[in-house]
Amino acid sequence: MIQVMDRFEEEKETMAAAYAAKMDQMMGKNKDVMELEADLGVCLMGPGMKDIAKRHPGQLVNCGIQEANMVGVACGLSMTGKIPFLHSFAPFITRRTNDQIFISGCYSGANIRLVGSDPGVMAAYNGGTHMPFEDVAVLRAFPEITILEPSDNTMLTDLMEQLTEKKGVYYLRTARKMMKKIYKDSSAFQIGKANIIREGRDVTIIASGIMVAEALAAAELLEGEGISARVVDMFTIKPIDKEMIINCARATGAIVTAENHNIINGLGSAVCEVVTENCLVPVERVGVQDCFGEVGDIPYLMKRFHLTADDICGKARAAIARKRG
C-alpha cells in the first residue's frame, strides 16, 4: 500500500545519500549483498564510501573504469550466490555494457541489479556524452529484464530491499540529486503495479522518475483551468502495468506520458503499445524529441528539452482536444 504526501516538499537528503545509507544497512544485514563500482563510487556512495567498505569487508568492490568487465564480474558473482548491485552513471552502465548485459546477464539467467545514476537531464554539466536519453530504450527490448525508475527516496529504498530477494536482471534508473518527497515513509511498492497518486477525470498523466513531480505540478496548474488530471507514477517501465493503462484510458479517455528520456522506446512508447492494442484513446508524449543532450543546469535543460510542468499542461490540453474532436 502506498500513502501519498499531503504536500510535496523536498526530501531531507539526496537520492544518492538515501542509496548509500540503505546499501550500508543491507550489507550489514546480509553478507551476500555486494556493491560494485567502476570509479564513480563516491558519486553515489558519497565521501563516506571508504568507511562503508571498511564496515563490510569484501562487499564493496571497486572494479576500476571498466564497466563491461564489471557486468561480467557481477554475473559471475550472482552464480556463486552473491547479490550484486553494480553502479555507474546511467550511460555507462547501459550503453557501454549492452552486449554483456544481454549475454552474460539476461540470456544466461544471471541475477544482477544495474544501477544507473543521473539519467537524462540530471547529467547536467557533464553534457552530451554523459546524458542518456536512450538507456531505457536500449534495454527495453531485452527479454525478461525489469526496468525501474523510482520517483523518491522512500520508493528507492523499498525497491532496493525487494531487489535483494529477486532473480533476474534489473535496471534501477536513479537520480543522485535532491528529489521531491512523493510518498509517506510507510509506503510499500509492488514491482509491476503503477500507483495513482492523484485522481482526475479528464486526462491521465503517466510519468516516471523526476517527471512525477512535474506531473503533479502540471495537474495543479490544470486544475486552475478547470481540467481534472489523474497522475500515475509508472515506476516499473518494464513490465509495464497494462491493467492500469487500460483503466486510465477508460476512466479519463486521454493520456499524456512524461519521461526524462527520448520519446522513442521509453515510457511513452510502452504506454502507446498498450493503448493501440487495447483501448484506443489520444496519447501525447512529453519527452526528449530524439536529440542529443548538452551541458547546462537542470532547469535550463528541462526547458530546452520541453520537460516542464508547462509542457505537460500543453500536451494535456492537446490530448483532451483530440478526445473531443
Partner: protein
Amino acid sequence: MLDKEQVNMLQSFAKQIRIKTIHQMKVRGFGHIGGAMSIVDVLSVLYGKQLKYDPKNPAMEDRDWIVCSKGHAGPAIYAALALKGFFPMEWLDTLNQPGTNLPSHCDRKKTPGIDVTTGSLGQGLSVACRIALGKKQNQEENTIYCFMGDGESQEGQNWEAIMFAAQQKLDNLILFLDDNKMQLDDMTAAIENMESFSEKFKSFHWDVQEIDGHDYEAIDAAIDKAKSEKGKPSVIVLHTIKGKGCKFAEEMWNHHVSVSEEQANEAIAILEK
C-alpha cells in the same frame, strides 16, 4: 634540444594555459581541474612548438591531430586553442554555460580545433588509430597525438587499440599516457595496480619512453624521438601531478571539484608572480 629562450617561452605559455584553465572553472564554479592541469606542460610543447596547425583554418589538410581521450581535460585544450587564436578569448567565460561551444568534455561539432569528440572514457585511442591508419594509407605525413589517463587505461577497449596500433605499425601515432597516479575514487594503484605501464607497452611491441611530464626539454626530446621511430607506434608515459601548478587542486583529493572565486584568484596570483 630546446635553447633557454625556448624553455622560457614554453614555460610562460604553460603558465598562461594554466591561468586560463583556472579562469574557465572560476566563472562556472567547478570543473575537472586536476586532470586538466596535469597535461598542460605537454600541451604547451605541442601548441608552442611541435604541432602543425593553423588557427585560421582548423581543418587544414596537413595539420597534426590531437585526440584527447580523457575528454574531461577539455578546458586545458580550450585555453591553449584560445591563446593561439582558434576562437575569441571571451569564449573562455562560457565553459558549461547553456548553449556554449565549450562543454566540459571535448566536442568536435562545437569547438574549432577539437578533432575528436570524447568524454566516455577509453574510446579515443581507437579513433586515433583509425585516423593514423587513414593518413598512412593516404600517404599523408601528419602526426596523430592521443592523451589517455592512467585510470582510463582500465577500459578494455584501450588494449584492443594498443594491439591494433602495433599490428598496423602506426608510426605516425604518439600516445601520451598521463600517469597522474589518481582517479576519481582513489589512487590508481589502489584500484588497478598497473606496476609499470612501460613494460606493458613494450610487450605489446610499442616504442616506449617514460619521462617527467612537466619537464619541457624531456617532453620535446621525447616527441622528436617518437616522431623518428619507424614501424611502431610510440607511447610517452608522463609522470605527472594531478592539479599541477594550481595550489588548491594539488592539495585536494578529488577529480571534479568546486572552484571558488577566492581559490581561483589565489591560484592565478601565484602563477602570475
